[in-house]
Symmetry: C2
Subunit: 327 residues, 2 copies
């Protein structure tokens, strides 16, 4: 199938075509990359936008259950939902946190839902860039909501925040002391904090944790992209299926407010610039991994390690060589 056919099938909502298109953008083969670039330009022309929700939480917080419950809530309203994962650990394990779709068994059988495990790439930057393109493909395929999941390990959250319209932080009930376990930078990215497991024995702790975070959010400076009352903290129970409808209402209200006030378009424009700049930077550095640059780096590196040159002088020589050797 050629790229234009594939683009048309994606836009027509063909799920197998979407899966193939995502596999294409995840490939690192040079010819695949060129085809992916054409594909992305063609589907962008369709001009469709979904609500992109980033969702982060540490392992054990109940992310899968919550995503499945939220997904089913949305498909019950007739909305089409795609779930993607950005998994920094896949860089090491070569695998995926989502593993197989059986983790969200009910949602994966839903004809309105599409679940895609995270790609296994060798570096987080690569994972995030390809994830951004997978999101664009899901939008072109007509999904109304794209949920982008990541485990909370700091760097991956920053990247997911650059991929989504609304960033949700999922937390477990905790003792008051543990409040400081969430870094200020992560708090500042969150549009909504959901304290999960507000059921059974853990309910009092969940309510207390939620109040603690609500207080902490209140202390943060108000951001121009927020209506009064945001960012907000709520309790939910993915297991007992409570609080999710309220959370979804808050997300919709926030999204609508941002669209009405121009923040939505601004954020998307800023994100597109960010990824453009990232691609250029990564592409520039990738030069160092190919001969003749790679071989020269190795030779100069040996001279530096042996103390025959200072790091600085060797770097100056390398940079001069790069400037002269490019075609």
């Amino acid at each position: 199938m050629d790229v234009s056919d594939l683009a048309r099938s994606v836009i027509a909502g063909d799920r197998r075509a979407l899966a193939r298109a995502i596999t294409l953008v995840e490939s690192r083969r040079d010819d695949h990359r060129a085809a992916a670039r054409s594909l992305l330009a063609e589907v962008q022309a369709a001009g469709r936008q979904a609500l992109r929700i980033g969702l982060s939480g540490t392992p054990g917080v109940g992310k899968s259950t919550l995503i499945e419950s939220l997904g089913l809530l949305l498909t019950a309203q007739g909305l089409r939902v795609a779930v993607l994962a950005v998994d920094p650990s896949s860089a090491r394990s070569g695998g995926s946190i989502l593993g197989d779709k059986t983790r969200m068994e009910r949602l994966s059988r839903d004809p309105l839902a599409f679940i895609r495990p995270s790609p296994s790439q060798t570096q987080l930057g690569g994972v995030a860039r390809r994830s951004r393109e997978a999101v664009a493909l899901c939008e072109a395929a007509g999904f109304d909501v794209v949920l982008i999941e990541t485990v909370g390990v700091g760097q991956s959250e920053t990247m997911v925040a650059e991929l989504c319209d609304i960033f949700v932080l999922l937390l477990a009930p905790a003792g008051g002391d543990e409040l400081q376990g969430v870094k200020r930078g992560i708090m500042e990215m969150a549009d909504l904090i959901l304290v999960n497991k507000a059921d059974g024995d853990l309910k009092p702790a969940a309510l207390r944790t939620c109040a603690d975070y609500a207080g902490a959010l209140h202390l943060l400076r108000r951001r121009p992209q927020d209506p009064p009352g945001f960012p907000k903290a709520l309790t939910v129970s993915a297991l007992a299926d409570t609080g999710l409808a309220e959370a979804w209402t808050e997300i919709r209200n926030l999204a609508a407010w941002r669209q009405d006030h121009g923040h939505w378009a601004n954020r998307r424009a800023g994100q597109a610039r960010h990824w453009f700049s990232e691609e250029v930077r990564q592409g520039l550095l990738a030069e160092l991994n190919h001969d003749p640059a790679r071989a020269r780096m190795e030779n100069l590196g040996q001279a530096v390690a042996a103390g025959r040159m200072t790091p600085d002088a060797a770097a100056a020589e390398m940079l001069a060589a790069l400037a002269h050797s490019t075609p």
Copy 2:
């Protein structure tokens, strides 16, 4: 004074020349950078090495008092001691944590000691690269020990670990729960953990904290560069001046063992390669900040923000332009 004269004065141990040389390597003017490069090559030829000790700790843990006490202990033995700071916060404040030398009043009056506040630079990478060169100048000036101080905020610790022979983590007494506040990655970098404030009311807590960390260190995989028993946790009191002599003995023993077993030279060679590679990467990316690249980045960025081009296609165009426009 020309560069060769300055190099000779530094090697002769002239403190004013050393201060001027450090100011030169901290400068970002292009002509200064070229002069700094010659200077560094000349002083490296002297072939002197100091014991480089990295020391990290969060604000309030008593870093200054400890460095002053340790410094005075060393100068009392006739050793020459230099103190440098790598301060990630100076990037924001434009100032310095060390501020003025009055923070270590007694040590700063000691003729065998040299204290240099951290430079104010605009980015952490820049601070660390220049700090590495300041360390090299102190070594050339004949200092026996260079103490490199940083506040514990994660990234700066990783950089200081790439600057030093031995990395010391300074902690305050804490409840058992707070053990997890120290990230595993930081624990894995530490050669020695010092629990400070082991005096007065806090002594029992310090002993308990020390035992907790000793237990945690024991669980880490033994590294090839460690003799049996390392990494190690000890209690000290910078205020009561206890435990420091023992800590210094441990540092010396560890340093001697690493020198005898080839790890010292290996680590230095690896660090030199690391900084060479960093300089090349930063230099390559710096190309984007100068015209014509800067102007083209801006134009393409606007096209991307307006949705006229995908980030990926714009990046491909930019990278092609860079390859053709270099001389």
